[in-house]
C-alpha cells in the first residue's frame, strides 16, 4: 500500500544573478553606515598602519575616521578652498593634500596646522602622493605640470611639463623611489623616472584619464577614463592587455581587493563592479544611491568605503563570522523549544536496541483535502490570502493538479460573487506570468465557460472581467511586437552567418541536398 503522493509544487528557476562564491563574499557586509559630509567626496585613503584610519577629503576639509567610529577622530580644516586628494604616508604619520588654491599642504596626523606648504603650482592641485622613500612628494595640477618636492626643505626638485591638459591622477611606485605615473585629460598616461628629465613611457588611453592603479607587483597598470577600464603591461613597454567597458558612465575610481584577486571600479553610473583579475570578467556588482567619486577598501576587505557626489559617505563593514552564521542558522530559540525537542536529538549508542516508529507523513492542508477528494475545499485552501499573494506557485500547482484529475470544473463551479472576484483577481495578477500562463489560461477559459450565464449580474465581477480582457489585449500586442523583433533578428543572424556548403560526395547519388540552417542558442 503506497502512501499518498503530495502535489508537486513546481520549482521555478530563480531569475537574476546566480549565487557564486563572489556573491557570497561581497554580500557578507552589514548594512552601510551613512555619514553626511559638507560636499562631494573626492578622495578616500586608508592609513597603512594599524588602526587603519581613513582620510576623507570633502569640500574644504579632510576628516579622519577611525575604523569603527562614526564620528571623525580628527578634522583638518586649514584649507582656503576645496581640498583634494588627502594621502597618508607609508608610516601613517604625515598626510598630504592638494587644494583648489594651488598650494599643497603637508600635515602631521596628530597636529592641526600644516607642517609645510608647497607653493609653485599655478592652478588647482588634484594629485598628491608620497614617493616610496618617504622624503619626496609628487603633485599634479591643472596647470598641466607635475612636480616633485623635497619635504625637509619644502623646495621643488623637478617639474615635468609634458602633459597638454589637466593632470588628474597619479601614482608612485612602492618599490622604486624614482618611478611615478601620471594620467591626464589629454588621454595619455606617462611614466616618469626622476633620474631622467623626460617621461620614459607614454600610453594612450583614448579618454580623459580619471584614475590609475598599480598592481602590487607593479608589472601591470590599470587606468580608468571615460567608460573604459584598461590594463597595461608595463614590463612589455606599456602594451595594452585588456580593455573593459562595463559601466555606462565615466569610471571615477579604481581599487584592488586585499588579496589582489579582485579589481573594483566605481563610476558615475552609481555602480561598483568587481572584476576577477585572471579573466577580467565582472563577478559582482554593487549599487549605490548616487554617483560615486571615490572608493576605498580597508586592509583585508574589512570595510568598503564609498564617497558620492551627494556628499554622503557610505561605510560597509564586513560581518563577523558569528553574525553571518546567525543569519544562515536558525532564529532565536524560544524556551518551549527545549521541551519540544526533548530526547529527540538522542543518538543511539552501540548496544542500544532501536525500536523504530513509523514516520508520520506530513501533508499540507490542500493535500489532505485532495486525498479525500474534497476538490472545492482544496482550491479554497490554495486560494487563501497568504498563499495566493506570497506563493502563487502553490495555487497554480493545485489548479494544475485539479485539472489533471479532471475535476477543475467541479471545483470552480457554484461559487459566490466574492469568491469569484478573488479568483479573477488572482488571474489578473498571474495570467501573463510566463511561468503560470500554461496552467492559468485553460483555467480562465473554464471559468468563462462555467459562469457565462451569470455575466452581467454583478458589477464587481464584470469590472474584473473587463480588466482581464484589457490585460489580454495588451499581452497580445506585446507578443506581436516581440515576434516582429524576432523576425528582424533572424534576418540579421541569417545574413551574418557564413553560408555553409555541404561537401558534395563524388558519387552520382542525390545526396547533397542543399544548404543548412542551424542556429546555436
Amino acid at each position: 500500500m503506497a502512501s499518498f503522493k503530495p502535489t508537486k509544487i513546481q520549482v521555478y528557476p530563480k531569475l537574476g544573478e546566480k549565487v557564486t562564491q563572489d556573491t557570497l563574499y561581497w554580500k557578507n557586509y552589514k548594512a552601510p553606515v551613512q555619514i553626511k559630509e559638507f560636499g562631494a567626496i573626492t578622495s578616500i585613503d586608508f592609513s597603512p598602519v594599524a588602526p587603519h584610519n581613513f582620510a576623507v577629503t570633502a569640500f574644504t576639509r579632510i576628516h579622519i575616521y577611525g575604523p569603527f567610529s562614526q564620528e571623525p577622530v580628527k578634522t583638518l580644516t586649514r584649507f582656503k578652498d576645496t581640498a583634494y586628494c588627502g594621502r597618508f604616508r607609508s608610516d601613517g604619520q604625515l598626510l598630504v593634500a592638494g587644494c583648489e588654491d594651488s598650494v599643497v599642504r603637508l600635515f602631521d596626523v596628530s597636529g592641526k596646522a600644516a607642517l609645510r606648504m608647497f607653493r609653485g603650482h599655478t592652478k588647482a592641485v588634484h594629485v598628491t602622493d608620497f614617493t616610496s622613500d618617504r622624503y619626496q612628494i609628487l603633485t599634479g595640477s591643472d596647470d598641466y605640470t607635475c612636480r616633485l618636492w623635497d619635504i625637509p626643505n619644502a623646495t621643488e626638485l623637478n617639474s615635468y611639463r609634458e602633459h597638454t591638459d589637466y593632470v588628474r591622477c597619479g601614482v608612485t611606485s612602492k618599490l622604486n623611489r624614482d618611478l611615478f605615473i601620471t594620467g591626464s585629460y589629454d588621454h595619455t598616461l606617462k611614466l616618469f623616472d626622476a633620474r631622467a628629465d623626460k617621461s620614459v613611457m607614454t600610453m594612450d588611453h583614448g579618454q580623459p584619464v580619471e584614475s590609475l592603479l598599480l598592481y602590487p607587483s607593479e608589472g601591470l597598470l590599470v587606468s580608468a577614463g571615460g567608460r573604459h577600464v584598461k590594463v597595461w603591461d608595463l614590463l612589455k613597454g606599456g602594451q595594452p592587455l585588456v580593455s573593459m567597458k562595463n559601466h555606462h558612465k565615466t569610471v571615477t575610481c579604481l581599487c584592488l581587493s586585499s588579496n589582489g584577486q579582485r579589481l573594483l571600479s566605481a563610476s558615475l553610473d552609481r555602480h561598483v563592479k568587481v572584476y576577477n583579475t585572471t579573466n577580467y570578467k565582472v563577478v559582482h556588482n554593487f549599487d549605490y544611491a548616487a554617483s560615486i567619486l571615490s572608493l576605498a577598501l580597508a586592509p583585508n576587505d574589512e570595510s568598503i568605503v564609498a564617497g558620492m557626489t551627494n556628499s554622503i559617505l557610505s561605510i560597509k563593514h564586513r560581518k563577523s563570522p558569528e553574525e553571518s552564521a546567525e543569519v544562515s542558522g536558525q532564529q532565536r530559540r524560544t524556551p518551549s523549544y527545549r521541551v519540544f525537542v526533548k530526547g529527540k536529538n538522542y543518538a543511539p549508542k552501540q548496544d542500544d536496541y532501536l525500536v523504530s516508529k513509523p514516520v508520520k507523513q506530513h501533508l499540507a492542508k490542500y493535500d489532505k483535502q485532495l486525498r479525500t477528494f474534497n476538490v472545492s475545499n482544496s482550491l479554497d485552501t490554495a486560494l487563501a490570502t497568504w498563499t495566493r499573494l506570497r506563493k502563487p506557485e502553490i495555487t497554480v500547482a493545485v489548479i494544475k493538479e485539479l485539472d489533471r484529475r479532471g475535476t477543475l470544473k467541479n471545483a470552480l463551479a457554484g461559487r459566490d460573487e466574492q469568491w469569484l472576484a478573488r479568483l479573477l483577481n488572482f488571474l489578473i495578477g498571474n495570467l501573463v506570468d510566463p511561468r503560470f500562463a500554461a496552467v492559468l489560461a485553460p483555467a480562465a477559459e473554464m471559468i468563462l465557460d462555467v459562469y457565462r450565464r451569470v455575466v452581467g449580474q454583478s458589477p464587481l465581477v464584470d469590472r474584473q472581467l473587463l480588466r482581464l480582457q484589457e490585460l489580454l489585449e495588451r499581452e497580445i500586442d506585446y507578443q506581436q511586437d516581440l515576434l516582429e523583433v524576432l523576425g528582424m533578428l533572424d534576418t540579421l543572424f541569417a545574413s551574418s552567418l557564413p553560408r555553409l556548403e555541404v561537401p558534395h560526395p563524388g558519387t552520382s547519388r542525390a545526396n547533397g541536398l542543399g544548404a543548412v540552417t542551424s542556429k546555436k542558442r
Binding site: M1, A2, S3, F4, K5, P6, T7, K8, Q10, K18, V19, T20, Q21, L370, R371, E401, D403, R404, R405, G406, A438, P442, L500, V502, P503, P505, G506, T507, R509, A510, N511, G512, L513, G514, V516, T517, S518, K519, K520, R521
Partner: protein
Amino acid sequence: MVEHGDIRVVHRGGSKINSREPVVTNDSRFLLCASGERVKVFSTSTEECVHDLRGHTDLVTGVLLRPTNHLQVYSCSVDGTVRLWDFTDGILIKVQLDYCSVCVTCSWLMFDIVCMCVCAELFQLVAVHLPQSGDQLVEAQELSAVLSNVSSNPAATGFGRGVRAPPLRSPNAPPGAITYPKTDSPHLLTTQRKGGKNTLMCIACHPKDDCIATGHEDGKIRLWRNFNHKKEYTYTTLHWHHNAVSSLRFTPEGTNLLSGGLESVLVQWRYNQESERDFLPRLGSAITHIAVSPDGTLFCTSHSDNKITIIQSCVKVSAVIQGLVNGESVRTDLMVDPRSKSLVLNGKPGHLQFYSLQRDKLLYNLDIVQQEYIHELGLQQFEVVKVAFDAPGNWMATVEERKPKAAEPEINLKLWAFDEQTQSFVLNTTVSAPHEAQITSMCFSQAADGQTSMLVSASEDGHFKAWQLPRSAYEGPSWSCDFVGDYRGLAPQCCCFSADGSLLAVSFQEVVTVWSPASWELLTTLSQPPKAIRDLCFGRLGCSKYLMGTTASNLLCCWNLLTCSLEWSTSMDVSLLLSDPLTENMAAFCCQAESTDLFVFKPSEPRPVASLKAVCSGKVTRAVFAPREEMLESCEESSQWLNRSQLYFLTQHMLFIDDSVAMTPFYLLLGKHRKQENQDSLTRLSAELMPLPRGSLAIKELLQSPAHVLPSTSVLCSMFVESLLVSVADGSEESKHAEEEMESEKEEEDSEGEMESRTPRPEPASPGLQSAESAAPALTKAQLKELRRVKKLDHGWLADLLLS
C-alpha cells in the same frame, strides 16, 4: 541426451499471474496461482516462488485445492487436461485427460466433481466425475452438462453452500438474470431492469446463509435473499464503488463481504450491518480477483498490473508478489540497465520496472511521474514513453507524456543520476516542456571516456535538441540545453550516436543528416528516396564506419560514412532493426505473412551470420540484446553470434481470441550448442570430450529429486568414495590415463544417478554406461564387480517405486 546444437526460441517468462484468482492453502503458508503454462507456488511470508508446477502444454485456467486432501491441488488447462499435483513437493501425481477436442477455459472443483466451462462455440457448464483409479493417466468419461449458455467471465459463476445445489448464473440471458438450480434443475429468476448499466460482473454466495451477492457494472452490489420461493425474492443494494465491481468474496465465516474494483480500494462490508465499511485504499492498481484463505486470516487480491497482494486481516499489506507488468502496450523500448543488467520497461502506470532476466523476477519499480495516480476510467494519465541509459549506467533519461483532450500535450524530460549509496536512480533535473510536440527519439552519446554525457532528443516539432551537463561548481550539476538543430523544417524521426560518440545521425523523413557533436556542424546528408527512414543504427566495433537504415519502402540500406555513399541495400520489410552493443552483429526482424523471420548480419559482409525463419507468429514489436553474464565459447558458426549476448524479444500474440487469457508473449532466443554425439565414435577421445554440462545436469537431477525416492545416502556415498579410491590405487597407469578414468567414473555415476531418478529402464546398461565402459577399458575387475553390485541394489527399490 543427444541434442543437436541449434538455436531455439524459448519462452522465458513474464507470464500473467493475475489471470485467475489465486488460491491460499489451508495452513496459509502457500499461495498457488496459474501463470501461463505453469502453476506457481509462492510462499505467503517470503514472497519467493517455492515451486513451479510444469506439465501443462497450454494456458492454465483454473487452480483448486483438493477438498479431500489439502496437500494436493487440481489444475486445468486449455490443453484439455486436469492434473493433480502435490504442491509441497512440487510433483505431478495424476493426469486426467478429458475432452481433448475442446478447450477448458475455467473450472471449479467440488468434492472431486469438476465443473467446468467448456468452450466450443458457446460456453457450457459441465460436471465431470473424476474416476477413482490408481493409474496415472485417466480418461474421464462421465460428463454431464449442467447449464449451457454461460458467460465466458469466470467471475460470473459461483457455487453456493449446498453441494448438490450450486447456484449458477447465466449472463448471456438478459442482464440481471440469476439462475439458481435448486436440486438439479436450474431455475431462473429475473430482476427488473433499471437502465442498461446494471450488467452483472461478478457473483459470490454466502457460505452459511441463503444469500447471493452480485456486483454490477454501475458499481452497485446487490444482496439477494429468499430466492427459494418463486418470484418472492428480495434484494438490498449497496453502493460505494463508482466503477464496475470486478470481484466479490465472502469471508469463510460469512461475517464480511469483500469487494474490489477499478478504484484499487478493498472494501470490507459487515454482513447484515452494511452501513459499516472498512477500507484499504491505494493498493496500486485495479483489483481483479479477491481470494480469502480458508481460516480467514489472509486476503489475497490480484491486480491488473500482474501483482498479487497478501493482506493480513484487512489491515496490513504483508507481502506483494509482483510479476512482469505488461500493460496494453510497452511504450518505451526494451532497455537493459547497464549496471544491474536488468530489463527496463513500462511497469505500473507512471513507473518503470527493473526486471531481472536471469531470475524472472521484478527487482524494483521506479516512480517516474511522482504523482498520485487517480483511478478513474477515461482520465488521461502521464505515461512514460521514452527511456535511455548512458553507456556506464550513471544517467538515465525518461520522457513522460500526457495528452489532455483539446489541449497541448504535457511533456516532461527527467534526468536521473545513479546513486551509489541507495543503489537506485535519483532525480537530478526535470525539464518541463522540452519540446513543443511529441518526442520521437532519444539517445545518449556513447563516448567511452564517460566524462561528457550528452543527450539528444528529437521531436515532431521539427527540432532536435542536445542536452548537456555543464560542469558548474555551485549548487550541483544540472542538465541544460546546449544546441537546437533543425533541417528544412522537417520533423526528425530517429537519432543515433556512433560508437565513439563523434557522429550523430538524425533522420528527417527520407534524409539522414550527419552532425558532429563537437562543433554542431552538419557534415553530410544521405538519402534514399522515396520513403521516410524508419530506423537508424550505427555499426559497432569494426563496422563503425557503417550506418544502417530501414525505410518505409521496405529497403534496408547500409551507408559507408567514409565515402558518404550507399554501400549496399536490399529489399526486405524490416520491422525492427537493432545492433548488439558488444559485437558487430545487427539483428533485423522481418514480418512476412503472420510470422517473423530473424536475420543476423554484419554490415561489412554480404552474407547473414544467421537467419531464422518463423521464429514466432505475429509481429515482433520490441527486442533487445542483453549481455551474458559469462561468455560462451561456441565454435559453431551459426550460434557464435549469441556468445556474448542473448536476444530477447516481445511479440503481440494475435492468435488468441480472448485477450484476457492471452499468454504473455515473452520469448528468449537461446543459443544451444551441444556436440552431437555419435554412437560410432565411442573412443577414448569422445569420452574425454563428453560434455560436462550433461554430468552437471545429472547431478542436478539427482539433487533435485525428492529424498524419499533416492537410495540411501550411505550407498551413494560409499560407492562414490570407493570409486575414487580405486582410481588412485591404480598407479601403474599413466597419470593422464588416470584422469580420464576419473572422469569416466564420474560420468558413469552421474548417468546412473540420472537413470535411477527418472528413467526406470529395464535394461541395466544405458548407452552412457556402455560408452564409459568402452572408453575406459582399463577398468579393473573389482570395479566392474562393484558396479554390478550397485546395479543390483538399485533394481529392488526401483521396482518398488514402479509398483507404488
